[in-house]
């Protein structure tokens, strides 16, 4: 049996609305808690698909306002993908699609609605780096072309400077972003 938006309505979420490929939990109008995973998010609309207790359900075109950080972050990433090889005058490579995908997924999983907009910079090897330098915190997250995600944190939320790989678990990043 499938349940569509016509049968139930997404009411609230236990956490921030998910964006761009992240998993989360939500409460549907039928009162049950369901897990869901976004498959796309465009212009504030999300297609959610999930499965709970063997029942497939689909919520389509559920809209909510985009967070303020999303548009400038997307615009910055899109602009950087247009950089030609050698953009840095020292032989830099073009930004790789794998890094772009990793960054979008990372933003979706870790940012909150009111999180500050990250600076987005290209790396010479074809990756992308997100940066926040505010409130005594220096936070940098590098997505390399091979899909590795590295986090560097220093400051009030990180008494000891941290360098760690968060490819499989971005939770540490989400925790620091929550303090920004």
């Amino acid at each position: 049996m499938s349940i569509s938006l016509r049968d139930c309505q997404f009411v609230a979420s236990a956490a921030e609305p998910p964006w761009l490929g992240c998993a989360g939990t939500g409460v549907l109008a039928d009162g049950d808690v369901h897990t869901y995973r976004t498959s796309s998010a465009q212009g504030g609309e999300a297609l959610l698909t999930g499965e709970d207790q063997g029942v497939e359900w689909v919520i389509i075109n559920q809209s909510w306002p985009e967070p303020a950080w999303m548009v400038p972050a997307k615009q910055a990433i899109e602009r950087l993908t247009q950089l030609p090889a050698g953009w840095d005058s020292y032989g830099a490579r073009r930004i790789q699609a794998s890094a772009v995908k990793a960054v979008f997924e990372l933003l979706g999983c870790t940012m909150q609605r009111h999180s500050p907009v990250p600076a987005v910079v290209p790396t010479a090897t074809g990756g992308l780096q997100l940066e926040w330098h505010t409130g005594g915190i220096d936070l940098e997250v590098e997505a390399t072309p091979d899909g590795t995600i590295l986090m560097f944190c220093d400051g009030t939320s990180c008494p000891t400077p941290q360098e760690r790989e968060i490819t499989q678990d971005p939770t540490p990043l989400a925790q620091v972003i929550a303090t920004l």
Binding site: A76, S89, E131, T134, L150, F152
Partner: protein, 133 residues
């Protein structure tokens, strides 16, 4: 892989200039200044050392920032001292090229802490024309 040596004839106060494209300039709200990103101080993608220009050699040749930035519209120019590079475990080696007699290399692993230190301690020779996010 060439073997590099730290050229001690390059004094600690000798300046090393590095071009900074606009996309590598970030606002640091903690330092309250625009500065290069840490990504601006990596080795070449092919693994060779980081390229810089020796400011005093440029001066000897009668050239300066304009020549370093020629053909690179919108770029800024940042300066590190050789002493800072050596404090960060790097070597500085001359590597003159036919068209760049002042070309040099900063040799060594560019860990994040090294790159971050370069980014926060460098000074602008030619500041960025505008702030980018």
């Amino acid at each position: 892989m060439p073997q590099y040596q730290d050229d001690l004839s390059i004094a600690d106060d000798a300046e090393l200039w590095r071009r900074i494209p606009a996309d590598w300039v970030v606002w640091d709200g903690n330092l309250r200044q625009m500065r290069p990103t840490s990504q601006a101080f990596c080795n070449h993608p092919n693994g060779t050392p980081m390229s810089v220009a020796l400011a005093h050699i440029l001066a000897q040749c009668g050239t300066g920032p304009d020549e370093v930035l020629a053909g690179h519209s919108g770029f800024a120019l940042a300066s590190l001292t050789t002493g800072l590079a050596r404090e960060c475990g790097q070597m500085v080696a001359r590597d003159p090229l036919p068209d760049e007699p002042a070309h040099a290399l900063v040799v060594g692993e560019k860990t994040h802490s090294v790159r971050k230190r370069f980014a926060s301690k460098c000074r602008w020779i030619v500041p960025p024309p505008r702030m980018t996010s």
